[in-house]
């Protein structure tokens, strides 16, 4: 890798690390971060394909409230670096590596979120002294530490000779890599299940089934299905309000599905 690529990767890793905690710009989502890393090392198309594949898997990994999901930022950057960069791993290998790295990233994230408490106490002191810009600097410092969370492991990986990584991964029996490749389509289900667990309650199961049946028995494009989904969502809520008044829109009907949801809960 040339110097420009190295500098660009460092920059991308830092920005992705910061956005991983911010959850704002979404450059840490694999479809963006892998693309950026791919562009940095001059292998854009591999980055995009890896990004899209990882995105399918991580679509439902969401930090709600105070929970911390498996990390997305660190595995995206490192997998993309190894797949698009001189280590030239296959996409299968990249995805197999991404899962353990996601756990490492999650542990680092939790550790930093705990350690930052100390800085927050410094911010309390700054408030006590009325030093408003110092308080701001502490906030930005914390953000920078989250950037380093991805940057430092990325630099460590870059220091390992790529030929070595390539050789290591060649040692893995093909039955394992092919087995993992076969399971990618199944692994996507875990992220969706996580989302469904959060979104679907009581009366909503029916809409999941409707969406599933339409999509599996027709070849209609996903964009058109989305427009259709918006239309039925609006009309359903409109009809519901007309029939029951806007006050008790959640309590009627669908008892079977209620029970089904409860059963899933109880199992």
């Amino acid at each position: 890798m040339n110097v420009v690529s190295i500098i660009l990767i460092i920059l991308v890793a830092f920005v992705v690390g910061m956005d991983g905690i911010l959850d704002e710009w979404q450059v840490y989502q694999p479809i963006i971060s892998c693309t950026l890393v791919g562009a940095a090392v001059g292998n854009l198309s591999a980055g995009i394909i890896l990004g899209a594949t990882l995105q399918m898997i991580t679509i439902g990994w969401i930090n709600i409230g105070a929970s911390v999901a498996p990390d997305i930022a660190l595995p995206s950057v490192i997998s993309a670096l190894l797949v698009c960069g001189p280590a030239a791993l296959s996409i299968k290998h990249g995805i197999a590596l991404a899962i353990p790295i996601a756990v490492i990233g999650q542990l680092l994230n939790v550790w930093i979120r705990k350690s930052i408490v100390r800085l927050v106490h410094d911010a309390d002191k700054a408030a006590q002294a009325g030093e408003i810009s110092r308080m701001g600097r502490i906030h930005l410092l914390s953000l920078g530490i989250q950037g380093l969370r991805v940057l430092i492991p990325t630099i460590l990986v870059m220091m390992v000779p790529p030929q070595l990584i390539h050789q290591w991964m060649q040692q893995v029996p093909t039955i394992i890599t092919n087995g993992i490749a076969v399971s990618i389509g199944m692994v996507a289900a875990v992220g969706f299940a996580n989302l469904i667990n959060m979104m679907v309650s009581k009366t909503l199961w029916i809409w999941f089934i409707v969406g599933f049946l339409i999509a599996i028995f027709t070849k209609i494009d996903i964009f058109i299905l989305a427009v259709f989904g918006i239309v039925i969502a609006f009309s359903f809520v409109w009809i519901q309000n007309k029939h029951h008044g806007s006050s008790d829109s959640s309590s009627n009907g669908n008892d079977d599905l209620d029970d089904f949801d409860k059963e899933l809960d109880d199992l």
């Binding site: 710009w25 899962i99 667990n197 996903i222």
Partner: protein, 283 residues
Amino acid sequence: MDHNQQNNLTSHQPLRLHKMDFFKIFWRSGIEQGSWNFERMQNLGFAYIMAPAIKRLYPDIEQRKSAMKRHLGFFNTSPIMQSLITGVVLSMEEQRANGADISDANINAVKTAMMGPMGGFGDPLWLGTIRPVLSAFAVSLVLSGYGIFGPILFFLGWNILRLIFRYMSQMAGYHRGADIITLFNTGIIKNVGNVTSVFGVFMMGVIVARWVKVDFASFANVFASMPNGHWLTVLSNESVDVIAPIGLTFICVWLIRKQISPVWIILGLFVLGILGYSVRILA
């Protein structure tokens, strides 16, 4: 309170936030969660966002200190919904700086009253629906060979929506002040929430149908020796293509509700894939 009133008596000019302050606060909102911590969560982030307003409204150092301390209290909500809360708090702070009888407790009560519902509304909307649907669009563009347009669509789509929403909700919160809480009772939030859920869950069904795949090897070998074997093969292949994705998804939901970590489920599926591949059930 004494300070407020004295301040108001000595300087007759009302303190007002400048246009630039709103822009600064809007920009700072984009890095709210930078200091997310397990003690008071987004507290420092919220104080950081409020800093330009605190500087403008409280030239007096004691008042400034108390405003900073006030906003360092526990805070956590869905990040994008925070702009609406910030807007409301800005209007309260401005009134307070001009001598209105608004206490620390009043401001904290509004923040606390809003952060729960906004979290419960915002997370399913932004993280549970808009982001998955946009990423599904992006992935489907990439898989159909449009390459770079997938990531571009995702990045622009999300950020344009997010920035417009943040700016508008911050200003709406500021102009309506604490009255905006009455808006919650009109059913608007509930209706938007219902539409979001129906649409989000519908799309989840669509995405599961298109992307969750259990790659069973063909049943051709199993039925080869039987009469009508061909039709049995076609029939079983097709029914498995329908049942497997939804069945697998339900099993995963069930495991997640059993508090099993997604990472373990993923590793389990890897093992299943390797085993299935080695005995040629999966291909």
